[in-house]
Assembly symmetry: C2
Homo-oligomer: 462 residues x 2
Amino acid sequence: MENIKQYVQENKDRFISELIELLKIPSVSADSAYAHDVILTAEAVKESLEKAGCDFVELCETPGYPIVYGEKMIDKNLPTVLVYGHYDVQPADPVELWTSPPFEPVIKKTEIHPEGAIFARGACDDKGQMYMHVKAFEYMIQNDCLPCNVKFMIEGEEEVGSKSLSWFVERNQEKLANDVILISDTGMISNTQPSITTGLRGLSYVEVEVTGPNRDLHSGLYGGAVANPINVLTKMIASLHDENNHITVPGFYDKVEELSTVERAEMAKAPFSLDNYKKALDIDEVEGEAGYVTNERNSIRPTLDVNGIWGGYTGEGAKTVIASKAFAKISMRLVPNQDWEEITQLFKTHFESIAPKSVKVKVTPHHGGQGYVTPIDSVGYRAANKAYTETFGVPAIPVRSGGSIPIVALFEKELKSKTILMGFGLDSDAIHSPNEHFGIFNYLKGIETIPLFYKYFVEMNK
Amino acid sequence: MENIKQYVQENKDRFISELIELLKIPSVSADSAYAHDVILTAEAVKESLEKAGCDFVELCETPGYPIVYGEKMIDKNLPTVLVYGHYDVQPADPVELWTSPPFEPVIKKTEIHPEGAIFARGACDDKGQMYMHVKAFEYMIQNDCLPCNVKFMIEGEEEVGSKSLSWFVERNQEKLANDVILISDTGMISNTQPSITTGLRGLSYVEVEVTGPNRDLHSGLYGGAVANPINVLTKMIASLHDENNHITVPGFYDKVEELSTVERAEMAKAPFSLDNYKKALDIDEVEGEAGYVTNERNSIRPTLDVNGIWGGYTGEGAKTVIASKAFAKISMRLVPNQDWEEITQLFKTHFESIAPKSVKVKVTPHHGGQGYVTPIDSVGYRAANKAYTETFGVPAIPVRSGGSIPIVALFEKELKSKTILMGFGLDSDAIHSPNEHFGIFNYLKGIETIPLFYKYFVEMNK
C-alpha cells in the first residue's frame, strides 16, 4: 500500500466533488417532508459502492428507510470487515444561523482547517466519514491490494434511533457475519493528535406532554386560578436536577460504573484547556455535576438535557394566553451498565409521579441505546492504532466519548463482534449545529488511513 | 326608545351579516404578516360609522395602526359619550384546534347559546362588542332619539399594548373631551345575570432570552459539561413562585391593595360552582395562591404566567441538541396600586440577578398598563345598571375582572373621565382561544341595552 498517499493526491479533487454531490441531497430522516430525498441518497450510496468495486449491492427494504448493503468477498478463509455508516443527517434548523445554505456545500478555509473544509449538513456526520470508506475501498480494488473480505451496511435512520437497523440486524446475522466492525462516526482530539473512541454513552430520548385546561385560556380571566401547563412543566423539569446537578430520578445512578482514581488520572492526561473550551463556546462558566471535571462530565457520567421545549404563543409580539399544553423533548446520556430501557421506565415513573393533580402528564419514549466500551488490547484496536501511527506519525490516544452510537452495543449482542471507532472529525466541526463542516485534511487523511487498518488487521489475525 | 326591541328584531339579520363581513378580515395586530388586513379593517369600521350617521369620521395616523375617530355633535351643552373599542384581534393559533376556520365566520348553536353564536376570531373580543355600539348609534340616529353627543375612538393595537393609542390620547385631550367613556370589551356573569366590571387588573408583559454556548451543541459531546439554556430557563422560571404560589420577585407585593373581609364577603356572593368550573376546563384540581379562593385569585390578586416558551428542536422526531438559546414570554397581571413600569423593572432586576454565571440573560419589556377600579355610585355606573335592569329584568352585579384594559387607567389620567365597562360577552366565549364565539342573543341584547344607557346617563346628568 505504498502508493496510497499518491493515489489520494491524484484523485482528491474527484473525491471531494463526489462527496459534495452526496451532500446536496437533504436526507433529513427526522422530518418526513424529506422522505424522498432520503431515498435518493440511499440510491446514490448504492451506486457509489457499485462503482467502487463491490460484487453485490442492494437496497434492503425495512419497516423504515432502506439499508444499503454491499459486499466484496474474495476468500471465505480470510477475515471479513463490516463497515457501518449512515446516509441520513440531522435537521438543519435553525437554518437562519447557517452562513451558507446547509445543502449547498461550499469549501471555506478556517483557522483549524487551513486547507479548507466542506460546509454542509452531514459533511462530517456522517456522509463525509462514511464516504471515506467507499473511497478507501476503491483504492484497494483499483490497486489490487484488498487483503480481506468487506461488507458495507449504510443505514438511513441513525439520527432517529436506528429502529429499522435493529430490525434488519436481528434478521440477518449470517449475511452480516464479520470479524470486526469498522465505523467512522466519531471524532479525534486534533489533526496532530489522533485518538480512538473506546467508550460511548448510551441514550434514552423521551418526549413529555403536560396538559392543563382543555383549551387555551385568557391569562387575565384565568391567570392565577388554574395551573399553567408551561409553569408546571418548568417546575417539573427544574426538579430533575438537585443543587449539585445530580439527576433526581430515583435509581438513576444505581448501575453507573464508577471509574477508579487510576483510570480518572489516565483520562486527565488528554490535552485539555478549560480556558480555550470556554472561549470556543463564548461562556463565562462551565456547569455540571459536582465532583467531576469537564472531560468526565461529558464522557463517564450520565446526563439529562432538555433538547427542545415549546408551548403557548411563540410568534411575534405578545399573546396573553394560558396554553392548554406544554411539551419538551428530553434526552439522557447513559454510561456502560445503565440499561436504557430500564432508565426510560424509571424516568417515566418518576416524571408522572411528580406531576401535580392540576395537570395530566404523558411521557412518550422516542428511542434509546446502550453504552459501550471497547478493550484497547483487541486486535482491532491495535490495528487501528498502528494505522493512525503510520499516517499521523504519533500513536492514537484512547478516549471515552460522550456521544452515543446505540447500534454498537446492538452489533456486539447480535453479531458477536467488536466495533472499532476510527473517527476523523473534530469537536469543532459543529455536527448537529449550524455550519457543520469537515476538513479536507481530515477527509483525505481518513481515506489514507483506512486501508492500513485492513492491512494490519489481516496481518495481526494471521 | 320604546321601539328599540322592534328595531333590533326588524334589522337583526342585517346586523349579523354586517358583523360577519367585518370578522372575515384577519386583523391580527401581533403579526406583521397581517398588516394589510388590519388597515382594511380600519377602513371598514370608518365606513360603518359614516353609514350609521356620524357627521365626521377620519382615520387618524399614528406611529402604528390608525385610530378610527368618528363623532356626532348635536349640542355642546349636552353631555358627550366617548365610545372606545378595538378592531384588531388576537392571533388565531393554534389554528388546528379550531372546528371552523377562524376567519370564516359560521353560526352554530351551543348549550349556552341556543339561538346560535357566531364563531370567528374577534367575534366577541372585540369586533362584535364594538359593533354593538355602531348599531345602537344607528338606531338612535334613525329614530331621532340620540340624547347627547357621541364620539367613537376605535383602535387597532389593543391586543399588542395600545402603544399608539397612548400616543394619540396624550396629543388629543380636547378632541376626545367627554363626560363618560363607554367600553364593551369585558364579559358578564351569564345571559340571565348581567354584571358590570368595576375592576381591571394591570399588566406587565416581558420576553426573556437565555443564551448559553454561542451555537447549538451536540448533547452527547457537551451534555452535562455546559449549562443547557433550556434547563437553566426552566429553573429560573420555576423559582418565580414559591411553594405557596406566591411570586418571589422582591417588592412585587409591596403596593398590592388588600381587600377587607367585608369586601371579600361581598365578592363571594357572586354565583360560582367550583365543580362546574373544573368540569368546564376538564381539570381535576385548581391551583393558585395559598389563602385565596378561585374568584379572588383571578381578580384581586396579582399573578405571573408564562404565555409562551420555546427553545431547541421542536419539530417532528428527535434531535440530540443543546440549544444555544431559550426564550419565554411572561406576563404579570397586576392589581390596583401596582405600577406596571415599576413591576417590570423589579422583574427585570430579579430575573437577571438569578441567572447563573454560565448563561447570559436578556429581559425585554413588551408592554403593560395599570389596573383600574370604578366607583359603583357614579352616574355612569348607575345609568348602566338601570339599562341592564330594564333589558335583563334583573340588576347587574359589580365584579372585578382578572383581565386588563390598560388604556382605561390612561383615559382617567389623560381625559379625566371615568370608564363604564358594559360587557356582554361570557367567560365561555373562548376569547384568545380557538373557537372564539359571541352569542347572537348577547350581540342583540347589547344593541338593545346601549341606547338605554345614553338615555339614563343624560337624564341623571340633568
